[in-house]
């Protein structure tokens, strides 16, 4: 007997999958630009998040800012909010030929995949890159379960 995958919609299903693959390809291509080329408003600032043992790291590129220009909150156990303002330098009697950099106030909230300890948040700013280190909350840490033999 021949086994085949159940395909409820036959060729329509195949076409939908094809479309999905195409769309993924398009979004992957423009993904790093935050969708700006598709006319979407990207969230600012873009973030990279990774975990390492018992910490979560959140990194953002914020050139021209200082830690003093930023407010960082942790609320509700796993909500991280970064707020700030980027000001344009003032040059008297200047004619602007090119303005690609963005300025103004911003606020970005992120739901972390696990609760963090709000007392153990460490933020550093180096060369325009913000790095926030958050310690996972006790309840989110892996626990070793001892197995007893009878």
């Amino acid at each position: 007997m021949r086994l085949s995958r159940w395909q409820p919609f036959g060729s329509l299903w195949n076409e939908l999958q094809q479309l999905q693959r195409e769309m993924n390809r398009v979004f992957e291509r423009w993904g790093e630009d935050g969708g700006r080329l598709l006319g979407l408003t990207p969230s600012y600032p873009p973030l990279n998040v990774w975990e390492e043992n018992e910490n979560v790291f959140v990194e953002a590129e914020l050139p021209g800012l200082n830690l003093n220009d930023l407010e960082i909150y942790v609320t509700g156990g796993n909500q991280l909010t970064i707020k700030g303002e980027r000001k344009q330098p003032e040059v008297p009697k200047a004619v602007w030929h090119r303005q690609e950099r963005g300025f103004g106030t911003f606020s970005r909230s992120l739901t972390l995949p696990f609760p963090v300890d709000p007392d153990k948040v460490d933020a550093r700013f180096e060369n325009g890159v913000l790095l926030i280190k958050l310690a996972k909350h006790e309840s989110a840490k892996p626990r070793k379960i001892s197995v007893k033999a009878e």
């Binding site: 790093e32 630009d33 979560v56 040059v91 992120l110």
Partner: protein
């Protein structure tokens, strides 16, 4: 007056770069350029670039900017969320204005490079005193 052109403006994900021996991506930094009576000022966002890792040169009317980004600690761990890539910055500007290349100065602070390109003395406007007789 001073028309400045550069590599076509592209999103950060697009590489605009010379051949590299280091591998990895190159990104086009976002810049602002303004002009006053005395100079052109260029601001470039170079997040993650230390001042000593900026390579800036002016040759035959072109300003070449290369910012090296040191690898960040993220390299080993998988990302839970990745919204931007990291890599060196590279961009070339042609400057059709008579710049006094010996007086170009630059500083880099908090990931922003500021380049001052003073115009030739002969092109700078001069205030002429008008005396009554």
């Amino acid at each position: 007056m001073a028309e400045m052109t550069s590599v076509p403006q592209k999103g950060r994900a697009e590489a605009a770069a010379p051949e590299s021996t280091r591998g990895g991506n190159y990104y086009t930094p976002q810049v602002d350029i303004c002009e006053t009576d005395r100079e052109l000022i260029l601001y470039a966002d170079l997040p993650g670039v230390k001042p000593e890792d900026v390579d800036l040169r002016y040759e035959r009317g072109e300003l070449l900017l290369h910012g090296r980004v040191s690898r960040r600690p993220a390299a080993g761990s998988p990302f839970l969320l990745q919204e931007y890539g990291t890599g060196d910055f590279y961009r070339v500007f042609s400057i059709h204005e008579s710049i006094d290349s010996s007086k170009i100065s630059a500083e880099c602070k908090n990931g922003v490079l500021t380049v001052h390109l003073p115009k030739m003395e002969a092109l700078q406007p001069r205030q002429i005193q008008v005396r009554g007789t």
